[in-house]
Amino acid sequence: MTALLTSAPRAARKPRYTADQVPLSTVIWRMVAGAVVLLIFVIPYLIMFFGSVKTKSEIRSVEPTYFPTEWHWENYLTMWFTPETPLVQNLISTIVISVFATLLVLLVALPAAYYTARARFPGRLVFMFLVIVTQMLQPAVLTSGLFRQFGFLGISDTWLAMILINAAFNLSFAVWIMHSFFAGIPKEVDEAAQLDGAGRLTVLFKINLPLVWPGIVTAIVFTFVACWNEFAASLVILSTAGNQPMAVALTKFVGQYETSWHYVFGVSIVAIVPVVVLFMLIEKRLIGGLTAGSVK
């Protein structure tokens, strides 16, 4: 009954959910709830950050402190030379593997994405189906096969092996997101250029690439971050300490008699901040590539 009475004036209103039409109390309530959500998602990383500037005796104290009593920024220099693992080499390894795997993905995925979006050929659907199945597979479930195969090839425990693995398993996201961007360009644009005598490569580089740039950036960032954080395959394939990426190296601190947690967290902060910033840049386009466009 009350609903019926109030519905009349409301019906006259313009669309809801705009800030100026919500009562102030509701807006304040939402901001408070927003602050709580923000805090929940940030807290683990704040603990890391505060821990990273504590001294070893403070972070290992039986009376833990929420905030550092003194800020020891020099931890960010000394942490690289801790005896548990060669962290400088681990950092180099992480960078080399991620950069080259990302380049390889781009080199391989870009032509495939372009061609499947623009040309019709027999086997096109089979190819796209393979891409989707690959996206669902992860190195973890195939590690025992990968381990043996790369052992036979004699490239176990090399950067090359991890570059190939990372590239292969991230290929599908890149193909998919770039495919959807290429498909979004009207065919007439290509046809007009081709009428003017431009070849397929000219069309791709001069006409299409500038238009699909956001898709390429999304593919690059997503691939890079995924390679940066890869764990399962690296754990088995890379046996030499110096070859391992940071994600694997840091697990060696667990179960140590006297874990240098302040160093673990310092390295974690250095490893996390850049990729979080990169991910935030492509925030709006992440879902389209991951869900194969089935969620709009």
Binding site: G34, V62, L104, A119, I132, Q194, L204, V254, M280, L290
Partner: protein, 322 residues
């Protein structure tokens, strides 16, 4: 970088010259279709090589190894049929491992989806600072799961852990507790971490789904006097079906494949009381060096994943827009 793209100018030249529209294709002879495929190869070939060489071939190697007797040092000592699978079946903790894998996947995915539904609904409302909150939600997605898990592991350490201190300070527990020493508590905290790192993707997927709920239908429901709860269950939730099926299936695969959380949280507990299929595979590879049994269990895991992928393809229909 541009090297391989430049390589095939001749084939592509011929391909562009040929009519490619619908009717023309139907008239095309079998030979023309083959040459269409050949002219596509320079473009999709490298991707195919990578997919076959590093994704599909290792799967074949895995199947093959699961029927071989491989020594601890990695020497292949010949075929053994299904003996490795028999070894698995005789392994008493396997039942518990299977049950725990099921609990792991169901608990993590159910909690993740429920929390994400609430979170997405909230982040879809407008308020000052919403964009900052949305960006904060992304952090566990971009951050290494290993590192996120390590900070929780430290927090739960007996006397030095900050989560223990917090729980004592708010008087939830009387004194510090060794959460990571006991399989049940370590496993439960692992579920919490897995939910935490799965929330960003799930929330973003549901948020994308919420964009597709037409505003005028919500308006109409309101005019007809439908309450908030009825509107949500009657209109919003059915509209989210697509987004939810994507979120649920991709999460099932991710959570099933997840290794780092349990490896860090429960890896130092002796025995197999906190293992899932995935952590067990890695125990076989790394601790016991039984690559043949590891392959057999991997094959089982692989088949489970393939079933989920098949359901995904059937339910979500990702191919419909290709």
């Amino acid at each position: 970088m541009t090297q391989t793209i430049h390589e095939p100018p001749t084939q592509t030249g011929t391909a562009t010259g040929r009519p490619r529209s619908g009717p023309a294709r139907q008239r095309a002879a079998a030979g023309t279709r083959l040459s269409d495929l050949i002219s596509a190869l320079p473009w999709i070939g490298p991707a195919l090589v990578l997919i076959f060489g590093v994704v599909l071939f290792p799967a074949v190697v895995m199947f093959y190894n699961s029927t071989r007797d491989i020594s601890l040092s990695g020497l292949d000592k010949g075929p053994v049929g299904f003996a490795n699978y028999a070894t698995l079946l005789e392994f008493t903790p396997l039942g518990g491992i299977m049950l725990r894998t099921l609990i792991w996947v169901v608990a993590v995915v159910a909690l993740t989806v429920l929390i994400s539904l609430v979170l997405a609904q909230f982040l879809n409302k407008s308020f000052p600072g919403r964009q900052i909150v949305r960006l904060a939600v992304i952090i566990p997605w971009a951050a290494s799961v290993v590192m996120t898990t390590l900070v929780v592991y430290y927090g739960l350490e007996g006397y030095i852990g900050i989560i223990n201190k917090f729980l004592v300070d708010i008087q939830l527990i009387d004194g510090p507790y060794g959460w990571t020493k006991n399989p049940v508590s370590a496993f439960s905290w692992s579920i919490g971490i897995a939910v935490f790192v799965s929330l960003p993707f799930t929330t973003y997927t549901i948020l994308a789904g919420l964009q597709s709920v037409p505003g005028d239908i919500l308006e109409a429901a309101k005019m007809d006097g439908a309450g908030r709860i009825r509107t949500y269950f009657g209109i919003v939730l059915p509209q989210l079906r697509g987004a939810l099926s994507v979120a649920v299936l991709i999460n099932i695969i991710n959570v099933f494949n997840s290794l780092p959380i349990l490896k860090i949280m429960t890896g130092s507990i002796p025995g197999y009381d906190a293992d899932t299929v995935m952590t067990m595979i890695f125990k076989y590879i790394q601790n016991e060096h039984k690559i043949d049994v590891a392959s057999a269990l991997s094959v089982v895991a692989f088949l489970i994943v393939i079933v989920i992928v098949a359901i995904y393809v059937k339910v979500v229909k990702p191919m419909k827009e290709v």
